[in-house]
Symmetry: C2
Subunit: 129 residues, 2 copies
Amino acid sequence: MKGKDEFAFEQPCPIRDILDRIGDQWSLLVLDALDGRTRRFNELLRDIGDISKQMLSKTLKRLEQDGFVRRTLYAQVPLRVEYALTDLGRSFLGPLQGLVCWADAHHKAIVLARRRYANGGDALADAVL
Amino acid sequence: MKGKDEFAFEQPCPIRDILDRIGDQWSLLVLDALDGRTRRFNELLRDIGDISKQMLSKTLKRLEQDGFVRRTLYAQVPLRVEYALTDLGRSFLGPLQGLVCWADAHHKAIVLARRRYANGGDALADAVL
DNA sequence: CGGGATCCATCGTGATACTG
DNA sequence: CAGTATCACGATGGATCCCG
């Protein structure tokens, strides 16, 4: 009843799963960084820039668990690991793109709404009295 | 208020803004509950079920700030407040739908990937040596 | 190089009580 | 009815050290 759904039998809404993945700070950045090319751990670290090793590690592991990313280990010295999108991961980029487009198209409206609100948006919010 | 309640405008990439909204536990549920109809505070509370008053309040305020939801106050007794989607809010439901469809279509694949991973997906993950 | 383990600060969220 | 204030706790994420 707290936070996560405990109904282990049948997921009432699959969307919750997805939301958990895209909701976190980093999954989308990682997915994007892997779009079209294979990357190593430290490459991702540098590509994304402000992610910590721990979070990158956790995020990658979760994405791998869910089948979005494939991890390939080369047992050489020094160690070498490569990450790449799976078909599932790639297919996810599609609907995601819709969201990105929407964000681009309406970002100004949102910023405006915030400014209006900050300046006492009451002039708009009440009215009915 | 600890000074942390300031408005965080100016996100580098617009998608971040959106992600913050859909990332949290409740915004989408509220948006969905408001889809097509106007609702009062306590109605939303009951509709959604497992949300607390505090979180509903915060979520609504944030959605209002961002221009997704319009709050209308009727100064009668007892107090009466109605919430409704704005055009911006409604338009957001579109791209979201794409995500929901994807989730429905691929949820089984994800569950399968998790099970495989749990059973030692290593047999699949390494291979290259 | 690619992480895991640990410590710690902050945030999100629920519960409860209180206000108008 | 429609919130807000306060407290408490667990999850989240950064920093650092450590190991194969």
